[in-house]
């Protein structure tokens, strides 16, 4: 280490003050100032008593004055007695606002018809507003429930008196020439409870408009001016529509209002004015409001002031004021009536009346100048027809489709309307009064016809559906149309109508075309039948498919028969004579067979509703009973040419039913009409045979048998009867006329053309031969077995054959017969041979026949000749090829 004095450590203590001390100095000053501020500007704590603390939030809800935040809610406590105490801190700069009369109220969003206020609080939350008052400084306040009305400085305060506070509210504006000049600030009931005291202010710049003579009246929001041309609605302002409004007059005088002058608030502008006072009597007030207007051709000429009820006359008495300018029109023959709102499907009238109430219409008498003035009127419900209309009376059967007010049209053009509907004196008809516009009255002459405009014509047929509708209005309201066969022109309609002429109302245009006959009473016809036809009341009656009437009644006749009453329209009366036949065309006939199904119906309507047809049949007999009733036939045929009957007797009714057909060679000639058990315990089957075939079959020798389906191994026969039912076949005889026969259950074997050569075979036993077993020649059936029996001494069997006539010549005296039944099994060294004639013969048995060819052709066999039935055949027999000439 060097000892260098100069390098000795010198420790110098620095006593200099660092400039950094400036910083805390400034800080100290700042801190002191903040402290000072805090001490001097101490926030004031106040208590506001609210009824509830809805939407007041601690630390969030502010207290404002003129939009400036002057404090914050710090604490909310429940009051011991009632409500809540809200503790708030008012910032020091606003403490001067806190005086005894200062008011606090909660501002929250409020939407009313006239104003939306406090909308900002929707987002920012409610706040408490402060309105400074006077008095000593205070820290405890009572919150007011509503925002105090703030009356602008220097505004003129006026007092109004009214009977009621209708549509007047705090905030209701006061207009002058539609400019808002003031506002209602207070509405209070008078101490007596009779009046409403209203306090309002007029802004200072308009205060000069209020004079001593000023009159105030309520301007109802809507001023509707209703005329036929339309509705004219005047609004003073949208605000006044909703909140009402008050306006006033400002006469040209200089007298300012007296201090504390009380103005009367009139209900409307007319109330104070002078006019002709009239009295209207009405049975009920309906929708007629107090103050209803009286309109003359749409122009307001007066107003009903008030309506009271008179107990003596039991009428409402309405006092009305008529504008002096029109008072001279109010004479004896003037009319007053109520115009009502009318909403129907066809029209909407006076819709505004729903809002404003009905009004009173007025029309004056044409020569009012000569008439005396009158001040008491009866208020009609409708306007009476004036002279601009021609009045017409219609007679209708019923009021269906008629409405008062419905229109009367001619070729679709409206020419008038129905004014009223009443019953005639005898209460049988409806009397409709029509008003025809004067300009169209020439259309009406004594030949005019009126018919109903029924709404919808609905036609359904198998070809489709046709809907024909009149305008919707007619569908809904109905209406009447005028029909003139010869369209009149203005020139040739000189013949005036008789004033008392009555017109009939036709149900439709078609009816109208037919004319008056429609109204003559229909002809009543009674029909008798064993059973009621399947018709109902209203079912049609046709003549050549033209509807001429309808079924009016179905009853039981004294005789036990069913009686069907018809009403035949008067214009078809001539069709009902003693030659008229009636028959039932109800429903439809089904003819079903294997070939198909045939449906036969008169008309769709007759299927549904049934129906009766009539026809003039010159040759008919027995169609009218002695009492004048007609017989109701089942068909026209039955009516005109009645079938003739014959009787079959059966042991058993088998499948027979009434209605089963009787056929001759496949042709329907009749049917079974009855099945009865006779005294011999047999079945009598009565057949109705068509008259024209009767002679042919009702002969001795005719045979009747039942044909039914037959399914066997050899084939199926008459399958169609499975569907159509069994029928009776006839084989006509040739004898004398006869009407009683014995019926056969099966087809006779020697039926029809098959009667031929009978021969007899002699055999040891019958073998498999059976009745109806075939007889074959070269495998062709030439006949059949018709009988088999033991011979007289029982030594053998006799088999009777019937050879069909066309094959009779084949049987020769040397012909051999052998059974074809079964099969032939030959078993030999060469093998086995199976022989069978045919499958039918295999089962059914049969007989073969042949004639040797190595002999001379023998003569043809005679009837009832006998042959031997060989027990076995020889092969050589099958090879015979004898030529047999057909005719010899």
């Amino acid at each position: 280490m060097q000892n260098n004095p100069s390098s000795e450590t010198v420790i110098t203590k620095s006593h200099s003050i660092s400039p950094i001390w400036f910083l805390p100095f400034i800080a100290a000053i700042l801190g002191a100032w903040i402290l000072f501020q805090n001490i001097t500007h101490k926030n004031e704590h106040i208590t506001i008593h609210f009824s509830n603390a809805d939407s007041i939030i601690v630390d969030k809800t502010k207290i404002r004055y003129k939009g400036v935040i002057v404090g914050t809610v710090k604490k909310i406590e429940l009051d011991e007695v009632d409500g809540v105490n809200v503790f708030a801190e008012i910032e020091s700069h606003a403490t001067f606002l806190l005086k005894e009369k200062s008011q606090f109220w909660l501002v929250s969003p409020k939407a009313s018809l006239t104003s939306i206020s406090g909308l900002d609080t929707l987002f920012s939350g409610s706040y408490i507003n402060l309105l400074p008052g006077e008095g000593e400084a205070a820290t405890t306040f009572e919150a007011t429930t509503e925002q105090p009305e703030i009356i602008p400085d220097n505004a003129l305060l006026i007092n109004l008196k009214s009977n009621n506070a209708a549509s007047i509210n705090i905030g209701t504006p006061i207009f002058f020439k539609k400019i808002q000049v003031g506002e209602i600030v207070r509405v209070r009931l008078d101490k007596s409870g009779k009046f409403v005291n209203i306090q309002a202010f007029i802004e200072s710049k308009y205060s000069h408009l209020i004079k001593k003579e000023s009159q105030f009246w309520n301007i109802s929001g809507l001023n509707a001016n209703i005329s036929r041309s339309g509705v004219d609605i005047k609004l003073d302002s949208l605000t006044s529509l909703i909140a009402g409004g008050i306006t006033f007059s400002s006469p040209d005088s200089d007298t300012p209002p007296v201090k504390d002058q009380q103005f009367n608030l009139f209900e409307n502008i007319d109330e104070s004015k002078q006019g002709l006072q009239i009295t209207l009597k009405l049975t009920n007030t309906d929708n007629l409001p107090n103050g209803a207007g009286i309109l003359f051709k749409g122009h307001g000429i007066g107003r009903i002031n008030h309506i009271r009820y008179d107990t003596d006359s039991q009428l409402f008495i309405a006092q009305a004021t008529i504008n002096p300018a029109f008072s001279e029109m109010v004479t004896e023959n003037a009319q007053f009536w109520i115009e009502k709102a009318s909403i129907s499907f066809s029209k909407i009238e006076n819709l505004s009346n729903l809002i404003t109430g009905d009004y009173v219409g007025f029309s004056y008498s044409e020569n009012y100048k000569q008439e005396k003035q009158k001040t008491e009127f009866v208020l009609n419900n409708n306007q009476l027809p004036s002279q601009e209309y021609a009045s017409i009376t219609l007679i209708a059967d019923n009021a269906n489709g008629l409405t008062a007010g419905a229109s009367v049209t001619y070729k679709g053009l409206k020419i008038g309307n129905i004014t009223s509907l009443t019953l005639t004196k005898d209460s049988k008809h409806i009397k409709a009064m029509l008003n025809i516009n004067k300009q169209f009255s020439y259309l009406i002459n004594k030949n005019s016809k009126f018919h109903l405009l029924s709404g919808v014509n609905f036609k359904a047929s198998l070809q489709g559906i046709e809907v024909n509708s009149k305008p919707l209005k007619n569908i809904l309201l109905g209406g009447i149309a005028l029909y003139n066969k010869y369209p009149p022109t203005k020139k040739n309609s000189k013949t005036p109508l008789k004033t008392n002429q009555l017109f009939h109302l036709y149900a439709s245009k078609e009816m109208a075309k037919l004319g008056k006959n429609v109204f003559t009473a229909p002809l009543k016809v009674s029909l008798l039948s064993k059973e009621l036809p399947s018709v109902s009341v209203g079912s049609p009656v046709y003549y050549h498919k033209l509807k001429v009437g309808e079924v009016s009644d179905l009853t039981l006749h004294d005789s036990g028969l069913m009686q069907t009453s018809l009403e035949v329209s008067a214009q078809f009366k001539h069709l009902i004579t003693n030659k008229t036949v009636f028959w039932n065309i109800s429903g439809f006939q089904v003819d079903a067979g294997l070939s198909g199904v045939k449906v036969n119906a008169e008309s769709l309507l007759s299927i549904a509703a049934g129906g009766i047809a009539l026809e003039l049949a010159p040759s008919v007999k027995g169609n009218v009973t002695s009492q004048g009733q007609y017989r109701l036939f089942d068909s026209y045929q039955q009516a005109t040419i009645p079938p003739k009957q014959l009787t079959l007797t059966y042991d058993n009714a088998f499948d027979l039913k009434v209605g089963n057909k009787v056929k001759l060679k496949g042709l329907d000639i009749g049917e079974i009409s009855n099945l009865t058990l006779n005294k011999h315990n047999k079945i009598d089957v009565t057949l109705d045979i068509d008259a024209k075939y009767f002679a042919k079959v009702a002969k001795k020798g005719s045979r009747f048998w039942i044909v039914r389906s037959d399914i066997s191994l050899s084939g199926a026969k008459n399958l169609s009867t499975l569907i159509s039912g069994v029928f009776i076949n006839v084989s006509p005889g040739t004898g004398n006329a006869l009407t009683k026969f014995t019926g056969e259950s099966h087809e006779p074997l020697l039926a029809q053309n098959k009667t031929g050569l009978p021969i007899t075979l002699l055999a040891d036993n019958a073998g498999s031969t059976d009745i109806s077993s075939p007889v074959y020649y070269r495998q062709i059936q030439i006949g059949e077995v018709i009988n088999k029996r033991l011979n007289s001494d029982a030594s053998g069997v006799e088999i009777e054959l019937n050879i069909y006539p066309e094959y009779a010549y084949l049987i020769r005296s040397n012909s051999v017969f052998w059974p074809a039944s079964g099969f032939n099994l030959d078993v030999g060294i060469t093998g086995a041979a199976l022989k069978a004639t045919s499958l039918t013969s295999l089962i059914k048995g049969g007989i073969n026949m042949s004639t040797p060819d190595d002999e001379k052709l023998q003569p043809a066999s005679k009837a009832f000749a006998s042959f031997e039935l060989q027990s076995e055949s020889k092969n050589s027999w099958l090879k015979w090829k004898l030529k047999i000439p057909k005719s010899n």
Binding site: S7, T9, I20, L23, P24, A27, G31, S124
Partner: protein
Amino acid sequence: MDKPLKPGISAIQQNRQLCRICDTDCSITGNATYCPHCGSPISPRIKNSQQKTWALLFTAIVFIFPANLYPITYLLKNNTLYPDTIFSGILSLLDSDMPAIAFIVFIASILVPILKILALTFISFAVHFQWQLNPKKQLIAFSIVEWIGRWSILDLFVISIMVAVFDKGNLLSVYPGIAATSFTVVVVTTLFAAESFDTRLIWDANIDAK
């Protein structure tokens, strides 16, 4: 000249001083004003360290009150101003069920600045009055304060970001309050106070006391 320093004895006693710029030591006597290596101003101890620390600490102490008592932010929501102090912010965080964040904010914004001031004040007092305390423990405390102190500035970043982002006029805006400025002053002054404090004085104080 460059003989190694002896441990256990302060450098100033060994006539050595450290250049705070280039981290080399030199003798005090030979280099009174400038570092022989880099030419920076040099002194064995930071000049007026205690004075500076005291002055800055004092400023911080003054401003810590408005920083905590006045609103740090104003939230303008739907035309209404909602002031928030640091503490009310922490409370509303707690209300919003975010206790962890509330705790962090409480540590960073309230506890740390106050503790920082307290710790610095304590160490400064210890140095000034030459209390016989364990210098190593004091150094640890100081290091913690210095390290954690810088995090307090985070609050200010958050506020400045919020002010920038939430600027939707009357609908939603954030304005800094008086406390924000005060808090900034507290953070900055305490940072500088820690910076200007020369930790070697702790040992000097111990040596002087002996």
